[in-house]
């Protein structure tokens, strides 16, 4: 049997990864909640953000954490432009079209990255890459701890924006009742694009917290996107609290599952969970039936 000394570090590890998963899933769930579309390009957008952080570090020596004020607005602008310029125009009022367009965007982005960066896996070196702190019997890498805190703060910030600001009120209004919101004078197209932008900005933050302890390659998004979909489905589409809890839960399941079953079978656990939840509880563990 596995003792506490082995399980506890694994649990902590899972929670730190899970926090970043949660941040990625929050962006996805915001986009879903407002636009009622599944952003298939979410993983590819995360990959773009990771390469941005990587290039900022390797070309200009900008520390990943200091890159936050650059990457987050950058991803926001990218998201706003993509929604207004491409996705909205392609929808023709049909959800399937949006699904196809975001799929097309992800194919283009991932393969452009493959052409530009080759399929090499890249990492960055920072002064704190190998630093650890001791918590009880566990040693946790400092970047992971920062990622945990940063992801939680970003999540809190996102929720504050959605629940406290005028923009947040507009977002919630559009999510609930598009026509009504339009009649109240809300620019629905603008709110759509803002939501998409904020969703991608979450990825920018996630990328800054992720890269010091992780790596980037052109396919990196694919793994995250299915995990993020699992979290969003598990937490209930469009539910923020669900995404946050679901993210932490998946992180822990993956970490402890990997410990017991080995890395690749641990992944099957996630997909298996995903399929089961979709089949039996598509409204999610915390969501109400649509």
């Amino acid at each position: 049997m596995l003792g506490f000394d082995i399980l506890f570090p694994s649990l902590l590890n899972g929670l730190t990864t899970g926090a970043v998963y949660a941040l990625i899933a929050l962006g996805l769930t915001l986009i879903y909640g407002v636009l009622h579309i599944i952003n298939f390009a979410h993983g590819a957008a995360l990959m773009v953000a990771l390469y941005a952080v990587y290039l900022l570090k390797t070309h200009w020596g900008i520390d990943p954490y200091l890159a936050l004020p650059l990457v987050v607005p950058g991803m926001f602008v990218l998201g706003y432009a993509l929604q207004r310029g491409v996705i909205n125009r392609a929808s023709h009022g049909k959800d399937e079209n949006i699904l196809l367009v975001t799929l097309g965007l992800s194919i283009v982005l991932e393969n452009l990255a493959l052409i530009v960066f080759k399929s090499d896996t890249r990492t960055i070196e920072t002064a704190y890459t190998l630093a650890t702190v001791q918590i009880g019997p566990a040693f946790i890498a400092v970047p992971k701890l920062v990622a945990f805190g940063g992801a939680l703060v970003s999540a809190a910030l996102l929720m504050a924006i959605v629940s406290r600001t005028d923009l947040g009120r507009a977002i919630r209004a559009v999510a609930k009742e598009k026509q009504g919101a339009r009649l109240m004078g809300i620019d629905v197209e603008h709110v759509y694009a803002m939501s998409f932008g904020i969703g991608l900005a979450c990825l920018g933050a996630a990328a800054c917290f992720l890269l010091p302890a992780y790596y980037v390659n052109p396919q990196v998004g694919g793994g995250f996107v299915l995990v993020a979909f699992t979290i969003v489905v598990l937490g209930g589409m469009g539910s923020f609290a669900g995404a946050l809890l679901g993210g932490l839960l998946i992180g822990v399941v993956e970490s402890i599952g990997g410990l017991m079953l080995g890395e690749s079978l641990g992944q099957i656990g996630i997909f298996g969970l995903f399929i089961l939840v979709l089949l039996f509880r598509p409204q999610g563990l915390f969501g109400a039936r649509a």
């Binding site: 579309i37 599944i38 298939f40 196809l100 099957i268 089949l279 039996f280």
Partner: protein, 313 residues
């Protein structure tokens, strides 16, 4: 009847071109375009006529390819017998996935996601277990003879894949005319209305995904016979799923000739870019993705829709 005459004409044109051409480049082009047509037409049966968008059609392709390989390598089957097994098992996987997902009423984005997840699960299983050769994959020993479904010339393979494409076209023509096809299209257009008229949506969609799976399996078996090699990334990775879906959508979903047109246009584009940029890895998929976005933006009914508009004016 008109459809059947056109299908025969299509076969004659392809066979004449194949007999006349000697250049290996062009024969390979015809072979790969027919293969892409098969993928697109298989996707079209479920996606175009049934309205169920699968993002993981490689699931059935990979199953077909692996059954074809394993039946020969471990079962000692003749490849023609293995082909029957590959088609049957892929159809079975289609039926199983369909039974599960449609039973629980998954559609739209959820269906797309769950097919993708199934393909991923199969990929990881193929990497992890022994009889698939793991991540290294399986290699078919070279032994050229028609009885062994390995041909010395591309012409043999073209005849083989043309046979599959003709069967797929005949089935699609049947979908357009038959009672089952009408029910399937009714379910696609309005499931509740179809049910009110006494159509069983579950059974109808199940039939479509089984047919679609069978043809994807044939494509997988064909791939293995041509390249004599399969690994988990080729079998269950996104490339095949994307190629099937983009071919059908670019050509025109729910039409008979759309997927043929889509596959042809995409392969012409791919050839063109290869000549312009050389063999960059991933450039084909960049083109496919961009074409997909542009088609959905400007020609949501695909090239076939464009032809229709042009014919009418």
């Amino acid at each position: 009847m008109k459809d059947m005459i056109r299908i025969v004409l299509f076969a004659v044109v392809v066979l004449l071109a194949t007999a006349w051409l000697e250049s290996g480049v062009w024969l390979t082009f015809i072979m790969m375009t027919l293969y892409a047509t098969l993928l697109a037409q298989a996707w079209n049966m479920l996606g175009g006529f049934g309205g169920q968008f699968s993002f993981g059609h490689a699931l059935f392709f990979g199953t077909g390819a692996y059954v074809q390989a394993i039946a020969q390598l471990q079962g000692g089957f003749n490849p023609w017998l293995a082909l029957c097994a590959a088609v049957l098992v892929s159809a079975g996987v289609g039926a199983a996935v369909g039974a599960l997902t449609f039973r629980y009423g998954l559609k739209g984005s959820y269906f797309a996601l769950v097919t993708l997840a199934f393909a991923e699960v199969f990929r990881i299983v193929a990497v992890s277990v022994g009889f698939t050769g793991g991540g290294v994959g399986l290699m078919l020993p070279l032994s050229e003879s028609a009885a062994n479904m390995q041909f010395a010339s591309r012409k043999g393979y073209i005849t083989l894949v043309l046979g599959f494409v003709l069967a797929a076209l005949a089935v699609t023509a049947w979908l357009r005319r038959s009672r089952f096809g009408a029910q399937l299209q009714a379910v696609r257009d309005n499931e509740d209305a179809a049910r009110a008229l006494g159509v069983d949506p579950w059974r109808t969609k199940l039939g479509a995904i089984t047919l679609s799976g069978a043809f994807m399996g044939a494509a997988g078996a064909f791939y293995l016979q041509v390249f004599q090699y399969i690994d988990p990334a080729i079998a269950f990775g996104p490339q095949v799923s994307v190629e099937a879906l983009v071919g059908a959508i670019v050509g025109g979903m729910g039409t008979l000739w759309g997927p043929v047109l889509g596959a042809l246009v995409l392969h012409l584009l791919a050839e063109l870019t290869r000549n312009l940029f050389g063999a960059l890895p991933g450039i084909n998929l960049v083109i496919y993705g961009a074409v997909l976005v542009l088609i959905v933006m400007f020609l949501p009914r695909g090239m076939a829709g464009l032809l229709d508009r042009w014919k009418r004016s």
